[in-house]
Subunit: 716 residues, 2 copies
Amino acid sequence: MCNKMRKIQLFVLLILGVCNVSFAQNILTLEDAILGSRTKFAPKSLNQLQWQGEMNKFTFVKNSTLFQGNVENDSIVSLLHISDLNIALINYDSITLKRFPKILWKNSEQLEYVENNNLFIYNISTGLFDVIINYPEGADNIDVCEANNMLAYTIGNNLFININGELIKVTDEDNPGIISGQTVHRNEFGITGGTFWSPEGKFLAYYRKDETMVADYPLVDISGRIAILENIKYPMAGMKSEEVTLWIYNIEKGTKTMIQTGEPKEQYLTNIAWSPDEKYIYIAVLNRGQDHMKLNQYDANSGDLVNTLFEETNSRYVEPLHAIEFMKNDEKKFIWQSNRDGYNHLYLYDTNGKLLNQLTQGEFDVTENMGTDKEGKFLYFISTQPDPIERQLYKLDLETHEVIRLTINKGIHNAVISQTGEYIIDTYSNISEPRIINLLSVEGNVIRNLITADNPYQNYKLGEITLSSVKCSDGKTDLDYRLIRPVDFDPSNKYPVIIYVYGGPHSQLVTNRWLGGSRMWQHYMAQKGFIGFTMDNRGTLGHGFDFESCIHRQLGKLEMEDQMKGVEFLKSLPYVDTSRIGIHGWSYGGFMTVYLKLHYPEIFKVAVAGGPVIDWKYYEVMYGERYMDTPQENPDGYEQANMKNYVDNLKGELLIIQGTMDPVVVWQNSLTFVQECVDRKKQIDYFIYPGHPHNVRGVDRVHLMRKVSEYFIDNL
Amino acid sequence: MCNKMRKIQLFVLLILGVCNVSFAQNILTLEDAILGSRTKFAPKSLNQLQWQGEMNKFTFVKNSTLFQGNVENDSIVSLLHISDLNIALINYDSITLKRFPKILWKNSEQLEYVENNNLFIYNISTGLFDVIINYPEGADNIDVCEANNMLAYTIGNNLFININGELIKVTDEDNPGIISGQTVHRNEFGITGGTFWSPEGKFLAYYRKDETMVADYPLVDISGRIAILENIKYPMAGMKSEEVTLWIYNIEKGTKTMIQTGEPKEQYLTNIAWSPDEKYIYIAVLNRGQDHMKLNQYDANSGDLVNTLFEETNSRYVEPLHAIEFMKNDEKKFIWQSNRDGYNHLYLYDTNGKLLNQLTQGEFDVTENMGTDKEGKFLYFISTQPDPIERQLYKLDLETHEVIRLTINKGIHNAVISQTGEYIIDTYSNISEPRIINLLSVEGNVIRNLITADNPYQNYKLGEITLSSVKCSDGKTDLDYRLIRPVDFDPSNKYPVIIYVYGGPHSQLVTNRWLGGSRMWQHYMAQKGFIGFTMDNRGTLGHGFDFESCIHRQLGKLEMEDQMKGVEFLKSLPYVDTSRIGIHGWSYGGFMTVYLKLHYPEIFKVAVAGGPVIDWKYYEVMYGERYMDTPQENPDGYEQANMKNYVDNLKGELLIIQGTMDPVVVWQNSLTFVQECVDRKKQIDYFIYPGHPHNVRGVDRVHLMRKVSEYFIDNL
């Protein structure tokens, strides 16, 4: 671990004091805190900032104009106004744009956007639309083939293609439980869609999901004249799961071929990739047990298995998240991401499955492979080196294997390499800098600063934020925490603490981004006199595979051990009122909240858990079985993680909140928990958000957080 | 009204002080208060007290023995021990009785009971079973024909008859939405069952309910491995309702005949009665609008309408609750109950529909017609005369029309006349007498006291109870209230008040029964220092039709006016802390609670509403449309009664509680209310009882009332 000596403190008050003493007295309203961070308090930025095709020029949208910047000089010119688009649209029976659309440069001249059920391709040189393709109302999962502008989309459970106006019904399935062209496996394993155009657009690969055999979970929609049932298919851990196959539609022949992924039918077909020559399709085939993956190559015409390039196994789990990426300069080589050595790294393979090189190594995770330049000389990636709470950009020389760090300033960097391979747009923030956008050379030199955002809270009183770490119960690992002191902090006072927790896989709450990643609600509560504390326990992201996966088959246990190290630290602080510690979390954080409250009722006086997993047997197969195996395979693990077994410990205040249409952590979790509390004669508080899914979003979130805030204010 | 000068005060403390000074310090636990009143605090009684057929002897069960008492002397003899039944059962393959069964004397020698899927008829003279008839597992709605011991029962949605062991499948309907032999119209209009044996058992009349066209309301059962849907058919006000017909099964011929009740199909077939000669069946046919009833006579063989004997209409509603009862000495005459003159009275008709006499009249309601003696000379009834909070027994001379009051002592009397017409068992209680059972002569003279129960709370501190009345906002009507002072009352203190309210039709909370009808939870809260107050507003029972029906089309409005008269009275009391008034109610009382809280948020600091009707359009057709007409007919009335229109007024604490399987006031009510609160940015508290129907019963009720109690204790 590289963060042993880290301690970052942002004396926000001090900085604000310098900036504007007279106004730094403003107090956040709850509306500010909940709704403001993406609106009135959003740091200044450049909207839709991107490279213009293969040019060394970038564009961004301001008001209703697309501006173009030139890397070689300071010039910013207006490239396109919304009215230009509207004038060009006059000949088409399309609705006038009211705001500038979300565009994507296809190349230096053509920009693409989707509006009002049309795909538009506008040519900046001619001022005309090269392509307008309409798709019907109700179409969803629009997937544009970049090579030939064909459109794939779904209507209901069926898949369609629009080839220059000609409509093809790829599937024609009456049974609503058989779904084509949509995402599968509940979006786990990096899956985000269900269609995959081949590079030249000769084929469309698509998922076909048969969930007819999956149990229905009944949700009830109360918004109509009389409440109605809305079943969802919800495969619960250990129960019958969906059966997915991958099919290939041949555009020219109009034929469909099923890829021969074979038995057992309950397996995961993940990380689909086409070979550049369109002859093969690659699938990371993972068994339902999620401990054995095969990278399989299939013939795109016959559907037959050609080769298993390699396999990965792990006694805990294998979790392929990234499809193979072919080298731009060599169609026989590709990059594979794997944490097989304990950290997520890049591996260079050839298409025979031979490992050529491990491209990156060390005690850090590659978090993003940005690909190579056209010549395939350099590969760019972002990683957790040198500090897991940061993200820095690196360049790898594929010949010499030399790695050069391109971004220097501390923080979370996000980079976009120009297609020319000559420039980089580097956007970052850190605990004290809201947003900086720089233009870099590929050597990492700052050519020009495009944005340095002011602190949007400069006129507001915020509590001081500290990022640091405590030692884990294993004595070696560092656990990152963020501590927010109350506004007008007086070290001789004693303050109550609210721990905000998530703690589940794939998450990292404590990072060196703007305000340390803190939620503005925590600052709202800091204004009310509460210390805000958050710590990332084992099981979370950014510290390698062992750190994340050690929770396998025993969810809650090690996470709690770690959180209690955080509590130990809090208790060591002279200004903490140790009799007034509260905890709040949602989803996995709801599970953690209940787990902690019931194991340490003397410590956690008040707890508020949202959408909590109560019993992992009610959770779904894909995520649940990765971490817990099935209830049949791991009965003890399920029992130790079952909150209903600890209800007798309940003391003090516990409020559970859930959306009544939660399709993720189904309501059965908290309802059976309340029932157990009633059975065990334990009082508990409960609240629901009618019609809301797993998270309460939008304006209702203010109501939610007022409920949560008042619960702590009244009881802690 | 006769209760103008009434004021009853029970100085419980004083009485207890005399009884047992040293022990009168005990305090009720919540378990005592909620579960104890029918167990450890149940006043002494005689179990299964009844007349033994046509004898002047009565029987009751004590421990495992049936005792026989003789009216002519003091003797009590043991008649039958459970072991006698068990010995007689040895020859039958039936399970041994562990406790004395619930028996019914068929005549002086035969007693009938149902156990372990058998109908038993035991002969006390022979010590043998005259009849044992088995019926299958899963059978329900068992209906024994007293004339010939045939058994009708339902399995699933079908109806069966067992004739001396021979099984007849009366209906054979696959569609679960078509149900025969079960209760219909949601048990309104006095309906309690779906089968009607003709007097001699030649016919079985039965309801056939077609609810295939009624909307499903989705309930969700979370108790299994995965939550499952449990649809109920729930016809909401103004929506499509069920279609009911009455059929007659001819035992001898095995034929079925539909009674020609005709169109419209959405009508109510209520108060089924057979003519003594089995030739005719009578139905009080009520239109869906519930303002026009026809008493129709049908031919039992052909099903044809013979005659409409008479009709009743009312601009508010007509609510037939009692089937016609034929005179024992004249099969051409029957008694009809109607509140057509403003109070519920008895009318004598002949079978041509000619009104012969109004048998009772005056400003009181007949609450029970006990029928006549064999000779048809005297008719016995119970009424609200002379005081609506009491029930007294009267005897009417059918020749002279003279009415004689038979019970003298104040209170709620319940009487059983012997079949000989010579004696009466009179059971009563009043505010200070827990239970008295007397044997009376038909002249009302007390022959013998059988039970005088001690005060079961004699060792407990209870608050003083007052029964009295305040003037209604109309300036004339008296509104009965019950006030419970806190334990250790000190008139110089100021006490908070909790109003317990119901306030809906068919209810009467304030009566001169034991402890004034108070719930022991109110006494529990009186021990905690809260005044308990309850008042019966207009819309409730016992004060005639106008008093009850004036709420028509405007539920909540007049009820609230009246309740505010109660609040006015409370405010006039020097020992009431007027800033601390809370209110609690369930069902209609939940509706009242929310209605009052939202109209007088300054008055009602804390409110707890259980299973509340929020919007009457979500309530069912039968009850809802009687009082509100349909939403189409009465849009303004529905709007004024819709709690969601008053959410902006919400201030202070409001807790709503509901069972998650509530099939009566469906969950949509409180869920949409919470949604409205969220939409209107109002905070509210909420709790649910998973798996519970409309009321939380059993041991979980302690949890519920602890939740309610703590809410008042913490917030009021």
